[in-house]
Each structure stands twice: as structure tokens, then as C-alpha cells.
Symmetry: C2
Subunit: 393 residues, 2 copies
């Protein structure tokens, strides 16, 4: 949400849904730049703000939105009440700044629904057993929404965001990209993990687990959106559903690693101890007991990761250790790919035809991902969208 | 508090107090214009914001201050933790926007003190039995501070504000005004009710009830301040302590009221039903069963009060009903005045000598108040300060 006007717009949309006779619980995020402004304030009084205090500070952003939306609904003549994450019973662990929801005690929400209220819940936040405020980290508001929907046995969880739904590719990159009216949890999960920013994977996983249909549409327009739900429809099988990309990729290659037990454990153990999560790991076939080891990480933590890895490389007498942050991931996702040969080779050919070099490949049942140079990502997305004819319904 | 710099300044002062070896609980109010900005936001989405939602919205202001002050203390190497009013156990009734504290459950505060933390509590807020956030209205942060001090058996409650302590008169009006190093609860209470803005009467009453010494000083300077405590000291008896004034005064006079039972009840009953509190009431001696009735109210509610009173005047066949908002109150306060004649006459003479007409007089054991024309208030304050030699210690 950006301004008072947007709040009124959202209130109107809620009112329309209310008029259909449904009980409604709304989960809000903070308005516009609120979160950044609060972080800026914190940085002006502290060089290294504690995450416990930062969580309390940031949680006020969603509380402000929730009260303003409630007031806007009152002004339109609707009964409504705002609840904080704590009041809505969002119980989390005590891992500040990226807490996980342990359970939802929706007693208070149910009571307010029974009183005839539209219930407006501050998203992105919960409360520990000691009643301390936590925030849920990335995807926190989406996750709150799906978790509450699950605990209330809601018919559907609608997520209004800054995009108009799930597309066959990023419409800013591929002009012909087409909105998908529906997509399965599994496909959405792969797409979300591999770069689609529409909805956070945590929320999709939770939706799948509790069988809550998730509808994603724009906050700003009244266009139709995308429904994320159970099984992929029969008629959509045997088809790539979407091309996604992600620029938050860096790669570290350790050259000339002695191929003996314990080496990988030493490297990845040290990274884990330093809180660095590793994405893809590839180890080449060993030649004369010497191998190369490559892995990818988020781009922002490359310098830290190099600091952790360098001394180990020296210790194990590896030949060299090279970091590269100019990379991107491009993926094709679709349930149709499982048990159907040919998708991988068509993908690789399409990239080769355009002179795009593939550095790493990873796959799942319903996804193929290539890591390529960052500056070729957009070309690759367009090429793949065309190759798999995603502009055609 | 106004800015990040002020937060750091306050953190430094707290650190100095901490270094004396004390356990400290700090109650904060919202920064600068935060409260006004939040009210403005609410008014942009609602013509008549509900007080329940407004309380939740406004409570975020103090939460933001509490976390920022905590972060500033961390940055200086101190252990500290922020608590909301709810977490600090400030239990109130459910009268939103001006809730009263019912009790304080300071378990969590005690626990955090035992953990070695400086505890920073968001003031001005509490929580109902249903765990809904309330705000305490005027004087709410001072009242939170004294209530917590009482529940913790604190040695002293220090209030840092925008003035340097309690003065013999407003230093902006009387150049010779002198800071009082100490003053009794009783005197402070009369002064606060009769115009001194230093501290809210609710907080003083609570301090007196629980025998918590209250120290008032400036947030901005390191000047000495004023201690509000138990009994007036022996050597200060027999002296006017301070001159106060208040411009928030309006008067309604009903002329020619038939002097029979039930008339006053009809008028003041109707005012009470409309939520209008009446301050001073004066009824002149009855002549031929006809009397005049005068009472004072806060200036802002004069139009409403006139609307309530006018139809009753017609009903009881009063001659006329006149409202006047150009008034002020000037008071002298001091324990020394009780049982000592001459103060009233000296006060009236001092005003008469300067041609200041007295419209109404009210007194208590330790206070004499005159209601006079608003534009003579400053003259009156200066005259009385001089007459009672308050510039001399």
C-alpha cells in the first residue's frame, strides 16, 4: 500500500467482497516506504541494531496499515476491527527477523467474525511464547495470510500485490508473456524458488500443505489474476508453463580439489557455520583423484563466502578458488516435463543457437535451470518463451 | 523526543544513571510530531475515526521511541530491552483514548531487570482484559511512569520534560521566577490543576497515593529540576509557593434564575449527560427568589455548552444566558496559606491596584484562584509574584 488513497481503494475492494455475503479476514503489509524509513531511523541510533528491537520497530508499520484500513472501512459504514499479529494468534519461534509460524490460535479472529466484523490483521508479524513480537522475514505477509486461511478453513486466500498474476515469463522482459489463469502449487513453488517474484515459496508450501487455494491478483487493477491450487489440469499436461529468471546468483569454483572423503564436508560445514546457505553444488568427475567443485550462493554474500572458503582451499591444497558474481539463473517450469524427454535438449539448443554459454545445469521433476552470464538472461528468457510457444494458450 | 540526536542524548543520560549502580526502568513518549502525523493519517481515511482503532494507531508512536532508545543504549554497550505497555503489564479499563490504569502486573519488567537489562517501556498505553491496546489520554506517559514506579517500589520517579522544573511562576511571563528545588504533592496538585503544565495532576495524585517521590527536570539541559515529595518542609511553611495561570477558561452566566429546588440539578445534569465537565460554580445570594448562576468550563466546549443550556434557560424562564470565552484563571498556591489570614486580601488588593477586575473567586485550603479577563492574566501573574516576594528564596 502506498497512500491514503490506496487504502481507500483497498477498502472499496474489501467492501465489494463483503457484499457477496462472505466473512472476511484481511492481512495487510506496511504502506509504501514505511519499513525502509523505520530501518533508516534505527540505523541513525545504532550501528548494528538488535533483531529483537528491530522486529518490534518494524511491526509498527503493519499495525499502522491495519488501523487505517479499518478506519476507512468504518467510514464506508462497515463493521471492522484491526488485530495485531499477537492478537490474531500468530505464534512463532523466537528467531527474530525471520521467525517461523509454529501455530495459529484464531480464537480472537473467530470471535470478531462472529460479531460481524471484517477482521484486519497486521501481517508479517507474530509473537513468541514470551509474548515478544517477531517478524516473519521475506514473504511474511503472504505466509500470515495462508496460515490464517488454513486455521480458519477459509475457502480461498486472495493475495493482492503489485503484479497482475502469474505469467508465462516476466512481462517486462517478454512482450508476448501471457497470464496463467491457474497453476498448481508444485509448479508455482518451483517458479517462486527459481525467480518468479509473485508470491513467496513459503506461502505456496503452506497453501499446498493445508490445501488452501491461493488467488493472486493486482492491488491496483481489477484484472482477473491467477489461481494457485491442487492438481495441474489434465489439458495443461505436457507443457512448459513458465520461464523464470533470477539475478541474485554468484558462483564459487574451487579448482584442483583432491578427491578424498571429508573435503566437501569441510567446505560446506564451514559455510553452514557462518550462516551461508549454498544453492546448487556441482562436482565434476574426478580425473587422477583431482576434481573441480562449483557451487552457487546469493550474490550479496559472495565476499563473506570467499573469506570462509579461501583458508580451506589453502589447507586442502586446492589449485585455485574463483568467485564470479556476474551470473543469472534461467528456468523452465511445468508439470508436463516429468517423464517426457526432449525438454532439456530443446532448452539447451535454444540457448546454444543464440550463443549463450551454459555454466551449470540443475533439474527437478518439473524444472530445468541453467546458470548463464547475467547479461544474457533477458535474451535467454525471450528465446525460451518462444521455443516453448508460451504465448499460445 | 524530537530526533535521533535527542534519542542519543537521552540514552547518554540513562547510561550515567545506570553507572550509579541502579536498576532502571525508563518510560518514553512518542517523538516530536509523530502523534500529530498519525492523527492526520487517520483523518485522511476517516471522517470520524473510532477511538479503539485510533488508540492502536497512536500506540505505535511510543513503541517506535522505545525501540530506538533501546537500540541507542545497545550501541553504547548497555543491555536494554523495549517493552510495550501490554508487555509491561499496564492493565487499563476499556475507555479508549482516556483509559485509566486498573493495575500494573510488573512480572516481565522485574524479570528483565533481573537479567541485567535497562527496561524501556512505551508510555501512554495499556491493555484491556481482552488484550486490546488503549491509550491513557492527557498525562498518560507521566502516569505510566509513576504507576510503574509504585508497582516496582522504586526509590524515585524522574520525569524529563521540556521545562526545567517547577517555578514560582511561568518564567516566560515573570522574569524573576525562581525554580523551586522541592514542593509537596498537595501543592503540586493544586498548581497542576490550576494551570502549571509541568506535570499532569493524574501523575501527582498517583505519586501521593503511593508515596513515590517525583523528580521533574529538563530533557535538554542538565539543570537541577524539582523534587515533588511528601510533606512540605517546615521552613517553607507560611509562604505562597507559586503563581499559576490557565487560559483555557470560559464562563456561562444565567441571569434571573428562579431560586427553587431542582433548577441546578436540571442544568448540571444536562451538561453532564452531554459529557461537559463544569469547573467552578457560583450562585449569588437570592433576592426575591431570583438568583444568578455562573459556572466555568473549558474554552473549547463553550458553543456545545451554550447549546445544552439555552433550551433549559427558556424552560425555567431565566432572564438571559451569557457565554464569555475571553477569560483566564490566576492562582496562588502554597501550604502556608492554610489557617493563615491575609493572603486572600493581599491577592485581591494587588489585582485591584492594577485595575484588574475579579469576576469569580474560588479557594481551597492551599490555593486562591481569581477568574479575570484573559488580556490581564500576564499582568496579574507578575503582580502576584511581586506581592508575595516569590523571587526571594
Amino acid at each position: 500500500m502506498a497512500t491514503a488513497e490506496l487504502i481507500k481503494h483497498v477498502a472499496k475492494r474489501i467492501a465489494i467482497t463483503k457484499e457477496t455475503g462472505n466473512q472476511i479476514v484481511v492481512i495487510v503489509s506496511a504502506m509504501g516506504d514505511t519499513t525502509d524509513e523505520l530501518i533508516n531511523l534505527a540505523s541513525r541510533v545504532s550501528r548494528n541494531p538488535s533483531s529483537r528491537e528491530l522486529d518490534v520497530l518494524l511491526s509498527t508499520g503493519e499495525i499502522v496499515s491495519s488501523t487505517l484500513l479499518t478506519l476507512a472501512l468504518h467510514d464506508m459504514g462497515y463493521k471492522a476491527i484491526s488485530l495485531s499479529g499477537a492478537q490474531a494468534g500468530i505464534k512463532t519461534d523466537a528467531v527474530y527477523s525471520r521467525a517461523r509460524i509454529l501455530n495459529v490460535d484464531s480464537k480472537r479472529v473467530v470471535k470478531e467474525l462472529e460479531r460481524g466484523n471484517i477482521v484486519i490483521v497486521a501481517g508479517f508479524q507474530g509473537v513468541t511464547q514470551e509474548m515478544d513480537v517477531t517478524t516473519l522475514g521475506r514473504g511474511g505477509s503472504d505466509t500470515t495470510a495462508v496460515a490464517l486461511a488454513a486455521s480458519l478453513n477459509a475457502e480461498v486466500c486472495q493475495i493482492y500485490t503489485d503484479v497482475e498474476g502469474v505469467y508465462t515469463a516476466d512481462p517486462r522482459v517478454v512482450l508476448e508473456a501471457r497470464r496463467l489463469p491457474r497453476i498448481s502449487y508444485e509448479e508455482m513453488l518451483e517458479m517462486a524458488i527459481y525467480g518468479a517474484k509473485v508470491i513467496h515459496p513459503r506461502a505456496v508450501e503452506l497453501g499446498e500443505l493445508f490445501k488452501i487455494p491461493i488467488f493472486v491478483a493486482s492491488s491496483f487493477t481489477d484484472k482477473p489474476g491467477t489461481l494457485i491450487y491442487g492438481e495441474a489440469a489434465m489439458e495443461l499436461i505436457n507443457k512448459v508453463k513458465s520461464v523464470t529468471y533470477d539475478l541474485d546468483v554468484a558462483k564459487i569454483t574451487i579448482i584442483g580439489v583432491p578427491d578424498r572423503p571429508g573435503i566437501a564436508a569441510a567446505i560446506f560445514g564451514a559455510l553452514a557455520e557462518n550462516g551461508i546457505s549454498v544453492d546448487t553444488i556441482v562436482q565434476n568427475a574426478s580425473i587422477q583423484n583431482i576434481t573441480d567443485l562449483t557451487f552457487t550462493i546469493n550474490r550479496g554474500i559472495l565476499p563473506q563466502a570467499m573469506e570462509v572458503v579461501a583458508p580451506i582451499c589453502e589447507l586442502i591444497k586446492a589449485k585455485d578458488c574463483i568467485g564470479d558474481s556476474q551470473l543469472g539463473k534461467v528456468s523452465i517450469v511445468g508439470t508436463g516435463m516429468q517423464n517426457t524427454p526432449g525438454y532439456a535438449s530443446r532448452m539447451f539448443s535454444a540457448l546454444a543457437e543464440r550463443g549463450i554459454n551454459i555454466q551449470l545445469i540443475t533439474t527437478s521433476d518439473i524444472r530445468i535451470t541453467c546458470i548463464i552470464a547475467e547479461d544474457r538472461i533477458e535474451d535467454a528468457v525471450r528465446a525460451l518463451h518462444q521455443t516453448f510457444e508460451l504465448e499460445i494458450e
